[in-house]
């Protein structure tokens, strides 16, 4: 084959740069399309990442052991915790003894989830100890203090040092001093949770070495399936669930959101495809005579096809380049103004995987979009093209 690449590159570059205004418009359109695809990917990934992180860091550890349906408690918690701690890859284990309750201050009664924790172990499975907005965290032996979620505290209009009354699900009513306010940024924790020590809640329910859940944190969250099986072997009499199974509804919700986001992303991609297809089609249509001349003087069909395909690729490369810059600028601006969602602070991250995937998608989309009109151009009948038949 002759040096077709040189002619293809030469003609494509000449055509692209012949009209700077059109070039600017085309690149602008493709930049917007690329930015749309990349930003929607970044928003989706950042939102889902934040949601999953918040769930596993504050609410449901990677793996949760619960009593079977017919039982209220997991028995012999301490030995079970020790067994699980012995599994390689498990980085933290802690048990909770939970209850529902009503927290009361003056004339305000608000339903809540009472979480009985061992404060010294809690850091092994959650970030709650790091999220004390005001006041301090609990001590293991503390029996007269509670921690309270920040939104719940706002609803009660309670502050650190004030006394609240807690009514447990068994009817026991006790008074506590608010030792700290928990602010995770995660709606479900901040609005619902009251934390007491395990020792205190055991005394309320008159029980020992029992729990309502054992939380397990893994070195690798994605390996939950494997570890679930390992723990199930160790604890055959209990119910072992992954965090995804435990949060099934929310994971399904995220699945639906993913579909919607992907649809938006596909629309962005479609915009790029249609833009390129229209540009190439218009280009081919307006250049019929020139294509005819090029073929008449000795250009094979693949050269004409190559010129238009390369133009599409070059346009998409320019759109990708500027889209990448624009996406990073937008992400920087949005992160600067701090987007606080009910699930926490959304920090937009444009991952290299997302960039590579988008570049690949746009590249393929450009070629696909350009192919039909480019092929049509390459197959133009010379006589009709030159003499306008």
């Amino acid at each position: 084959m002759r040096l077709s690449i040189r002619v293809i590159l030469f003609m494509a570059l000449k055509d692209i740069f012949k009209d700077k205004r059109i070039l600017a418009l085309v690149v602008f359109a493709l930049t917007i399309g690329y930015t749309n695809v990349l930003m929607s990917t970044a928003v989706m990934n950042s939102f889902i990442g934040l949601f999953y992180d918040q769930i596993t860091d504050t609410t449901v550890p990677h793996i949760v052991v619960e009593p079977r349906e017919e039982k209220k408690f997991i028995e012999h918690t301490e030995s079970k915790v020790k067994n699980i701690e012995g599994i390689a890859g498990v980085v933290g284990v802690a048990s909770h003894l939970n209850s529902s309750g009503i927290v009361i201050l003056k004339n305000k009664n608000i339903g809540c989830s009472v979480v009985g924790i061992t404060p010294s172990l809690e850091k092994n499975i959650s970030i709650i100890p790091e999220k004390i907005e005001k006041g301090t965290f609990l001590n293991d032996k503390e029996k007269t203090s509670v921690l309270i979620g920040t939104m719940l505290a706002d609803d009660l209009e309670v502050s650190v040092g004030q006394k609240v009354t807690l009514v447990y699900s068994n009817g026991v009513k006790r008074e506590y001093s608010v030792k700290g306010i928990v602010n995770t940024g995660f709606l479900f924790v901040d609005m619902l949770n009251v934390y007491v020590t395990r020792e205190e809640i055991e005394s309320v329910f008159g029980t020992h070495d029992r729990s309502t859940e054992i939380g397990v944190r893994l070195a690798d969250r994605d390996a939950v399936g494997t570890y679930k099986l390992l723990i199930m072997k160790q604890l055959p009499s209990d119910d072992v669930k992954t965090w995804e199974e435990k949060m099934g509804f929310f994971v399904q919700l995220i699945g639906v959101l993913k579909i919607i986001w992907n649809a938006i992303r596909m629309m962005g991609l479609l915009t790029v495809i249609v833009t390129i297809a229209i540009i190439i089609y218009v280009n081919v249509t307006s250049k019929r005579r020139q294509i005819g001349i090029l073929k008449a003087i000795g250009a094979r069909n693949h050269i004409v096809l190559g010129i238009f395909l390369l133009e599409a690729v070059l346009w998409s490369m320019m759109g990708t380049f500027f889209g990448l810059i624009l996406s990073h600028v937008l992400a920087y601006i949005l992160n600067s103004i701090r987007i606080v969602l009910p699930i926490g602070l959304l920090v937009l991250r444009i991952s290299s995987e997302a960039i590579l995937l988008t570049v690949f998608l746009i590249f393929i989309a450009s070629l696909l979009a350009a192919f039909m009109p480019a092929r049509q151009g390459s197959r133009i009948n010379i006589i009709k093209a030159i003499w306008g038949g």
Partner: protein, 222 residues
């Protein structure tokens, strides 16, 4: 030696289901160094014959020989290559690439042949000199007059040292002065460089400048 030879060349177009004969058995023979004018009234088959000789279209029957090769039997890609190497095209609408400079337009066929760029430029400049456009090599077609554009087209048609030039009404869109310059250029190329020229024209005065006139009427040579 024959540069262009046709043997019982026929071409019939279909107008719906109605066959419309454009060429009814044309025999021509153009020898090397001849300047031929192909003339005839509208609908005589001039353009059809030009398209056949230029390998832009295929005959319904008959043969076309260029430099002794029967091009009627060549594959599409071989025809393209044959056009690139053997034929220099000059069209009536100048048909330059508007985004390319005069020099770039001239050397494009050489680039298609894969020639070295320095060699392309050297040859391109030489041909622009031949057609009197030395100073205009970096001008875009939009910056050239109609006559100058046609001279660039002529330079382009010569760049691969073709066996013959195929000119389709080369002065049809030019004023008298520019038309005269183009005809003079053709005569000079033919006389000084021995270039074979096969030109379609409807202008009797222009036709008279050729060595020989082939007249077509109703698809046959008269």
């Amino acid at each position: 030696m024959s540069v262009i030879k046709t043997d019982a060349l026929k071409k019939t177009y279909m107008l719906g289901k109605v066959p419309v004969p454009a060429l009814r058995g044309v025999d021509i023979d153009v020898v090397k160094g001849e300047f031929i004018a192909l003339m005839g009234p509208s609908g005589a088959g001039k353009s059809t014959l030009l398209n056949m000789v230029g390998m832009l279209d295929s005959p319904t029957s008959g043969d076309i020989f260029i430099d002794g090769t029967n091009v009627s039997t060549l594959s599409e890609n071989m025809r393209v290559d044959f056009r690139l190497e053997k034929i220099g095209f000059i069209f009536q609408f100048f048909n330059l690439f508007m985004e390319l400079t005069a020099l770039e337009n001239v050397i494009l066929p050489m680039m298609l042949l894969g020639k070295d760029m320095n060699e392309c430029r050297r040859q391109g400049r030489e041909l622009l000199h031949v057609v009197g456009l030395d100073e205009r090599e970096n001008h875009l077609p939009s910056e050239l007059s109609g006559g100058e554009q046609q001279r660039v087209t002529i330079a382009r048609s010569l760049v691969n040292n073709p066996s013959f030039l195929l000119a389709d009404e080369p002065t049809a869109n030019l004023d008298t002065e520019n038309a005269s310059q183009i005809v003079t250029l053709f005569r000079r190329l033919n006389a000084e460089l021995g270039i074979t020229i096969f030109m379609v024209t409807h202008e009797e005065e222009l036709g008279q400048k050729a060595d020989r006139i082939i007249r077509l009427r109703d698809g046959v040579v008269v």
